[in-house]
Amino acid sequence: MEVVIAIAIGVLFGSGVWLLLRPRTYQVTIGLLLASYAVNLFIFTMGRLWVDKPPLTLNGVPTDLSQYADPLPQALVLTAIVIGFATTALFLVVLLGSRGVNGTDHVDGKEPKR
């Protein structure tokens, strides 16, 4: 399981970095999204990977730490998702503004000279 998650995070982040370095703002947006997915997954796995263990205390499950997953990284991921989503949305607005004012979707606001 660790290997699968690690490869998934690596592929997501790698694709994200590649897209971030592209010259078009839309590609940069998608790159930011992919990288933020990778980061969110990464935070989640930092609470160690558990199968079939709830992060909340339940009736019937003994109150023993080994029976529960670490709830904190899950809470952190929620916060990180919300913040990442909001800032990406903000970036989209700037992207549209830049497209409208400069008439191009190049990240430098003008087409490179050929």
Partner: protein, 538 residues
């Protein structure tokens, strides 16, 4: 700690939050009302910051550390707000600068777009929160509040140049935030806590298996802070963003770069002080080298810039570099000197940002070009007017203010920048004569001196071209609301110089406190029982 002392810590965070929320609801037509509310809030925050500073230094708080346990959760589990001498000073500096920037923005800049005032308050809230929080993830949240507000403010005024610079600024900071998150989660994986003090205690008893996680986590985390603090090679975004932002916003951005450095200073001194011998001073050499490279980069950049905004930007980079390079020595005198220089130069660069905007209104592009060509072709500048022209009062005021800023930025006498640099260099020479890392220290001394010299060359060139070489025929229109903040900042410089002994004493106590992390441990981890009991009584 009494109850009001605890809740005073919330004032610099909560008051701007409420005020910003109210300001969003008010329509832009009520411009004066919005400005008034914003100003009152900022003044309240300034008063709270002054009170915090008085509390931590007057001995009413044990060890000069004040705490607030949010929702009364005990320390490693809940979020703790902590004020010590360093954070009180930073909050005071931020709110004082905010008052000046706001006053300056009143006559022009706050009216060229919408929601300036609410974004301004959110920025203030994020900055104060970042200074006061003692929880690593909470620090991330406040960083994001601050950055989100600054994205809006950089774009305030919305033209092609601002959009381009804003786009780059946002992408770079978003990526830096990813690094922040990765670093925080790695540190959590290694130590199992997010409270900074508790993390330091966990590191002291960490099993060697987790050293790798810890080291990688710290390395990635510091990348995020150094990007925000504009250390070389992560600071290329800074000059063009400063140049594009409107002047009051740029003045606040100068302060924002210092937050990254504040985080490095706090965490590095806290986390590794008690660590096992293998981890002692981890990354210190990297910080030193990166600081020196930053000073060098700023020096070259300053020399190469012609326009005021990049000059100020590179000045900010140099002052970042100086603090960064002395952190790792862990020497109280050195830290105190560097902090003194940081305060003076940050305020001076911010004042310079405000000042040059007025000056730039005088300098038409044509006259600047003329001055440049004349210099390039070594044309003798024959004055067509008789010698001894009457300089209008407003222009004289601008000139004096400019000289004040230049002296503070470069650390030349007679203002406090010189005292700060002198104490910094003296502490460095003392360290060098005691024989640790000798050549490196001398290299650092040379870099600091050279950066000051090139700074004065660059600023003098700008000053001569602006105030002497151009034939300014139009009279300067100087509105009161624009002059007051500059006068206030000049008075602060004079105050810092006259009261240098007291300020230096405070900073020495600050540095001494930072170098004894055991104080934080005993306050944060042990005092909570008493605090909780007293909280329960009321």
């Amino acid at each position: 700690m009494t109850l009001w002392q605890q809740y005073l810590l919330m004032v610099p965070i909560l008051v701007p939050l409420f005020s910003a929320t109210v300001l969003i609801l008010l329509s832009e037509r009520h411009h004066r009302l919005k400005f008034g509310l914003n100003l009152v809030t900022t003044l309240v925050v300034l008063a709270a910051a002054a009170m915090l500073l008085w509390q931590v230094d007057s001995g009413t708080l044990p060890l000069g550390i004040g705490l607030h346990f949010i929702a009364d959760w005990p320390a490693p589990f809940g979020i703790v707000l902590l004020v010590d001498r360093l954070s009180a000073l930073m909050v005071l500096m931020a709110s004082g600068m905010a008052v000046c920037a706001l006053l300056y923005a009143e006559s022009r800049w706050s009216r060229i777009g919408v929601h300036f005032h609410s974004l301004f308050q959110f920025l203030l809230m994020g900055m104060n929160g970042a200074f006061l929080t003692h929880d690593l993830f909470n620090l991330f949240v406040f960083f994001e509040v601050m950055l989100a507000a600054s994205y809006g403010l950089v774009l305030h005024g919305y033209n092609s140049q601002r959009l381009r610079a804003g786009l780059h600024y946002i992408v770079i900071n978003l990526v830096a935030s990813f690094f922040f998150l990765i670093g925080v989660s790695l540190l959590y994986a290694a130590t199992g806590t997010l409270n900074m003090t508790d993390m330091a205690m966990q590191i002291a008893t960490l099993s060697p298996d987790d050293y790798v996680l810890l080291k990688v986590g710290c390395g990635i985390l510091v990348l995020a802070f150094l990007t925000k603090g504009a250390a070389w090679p992560l600071g290329f975004w800074l000059p063009q963003t400063y140049a594009a932002a409107s002047p009051p916003v740029a003045a606040m951005l100068v302060l924002m770069t210092k937050i990254g450095l504040y985080a490095v200073l706090r965490l590095w001194l806290l986390l590794f002080a008690d660590a096992p011998a293998v981890l002692q001073g981890f990354g210190g050499e990297f910080l030193l080298w990166s600081g020196m490279a930053t000073i060098a980069f700023g020096t070259f950049g300053m020399l190469a810039s012609q326009e005021p905004a990049p000059i100020a930007g590179y000045g900010a980079i140099i002052s970042s570099g100086i603090l960064l390079s002395v952190v790792s020595f862990g020497d109280a005198d050195l830290l105190a000197g560097a902090l003194f220089y940081l305060i003076g130069s940050t305020l001076a660069i911010a004042a310079f940002m405000l000042l040059t905007e007025i000056v730039n209104r005088l300098r038409t592009p044509a006259s600047a070009m003329l001055a440049l060509t004349m210099e390039a072709f070594a044309v003798e500048d024959k004055p067509s007017e008789p010698v001894g022209v009457v300089i209008p009062a407003a222009l004289a005021f601008l000139g004096i203010a400019f000289i004040g800023c230049a002296l503070m930025i470069t650390g030349f006498p007679p203002l406090s920048g010189f005292i700060a640099k002198f104490s910094l260099l003296r502490a460095l020479v003392e360290l060098a004569s005691s024989g640790i890392a000798n050549t490196l220290i001398w290299l650092l001394i040379v870099l600091i001196v050279v950066s000051g010299l090139t700074g004065i060359i660059s600023l003098m060139r700008f000053g001569v071209r602006t105030f002497w070489a151009t034939n300014i025929t139009t009279s300067v229109r100087l509105s009161v609301s624009e002059a007051v903040p500059i006068v206030a900042l000049l008075l602060v410089f004079i105050g810092l110089t006259v009261q240098a002994g007291q300020v230096m004493g405070y900073l020495e106590r600050t540095a001494d406190g930072l170098l004894v992390p055991q104080h934080y441990q005993s306050t944060v981890m042990d005092n909570q029982v008493a605090t909780r009991a007293s909280g329960g009584d009321t």
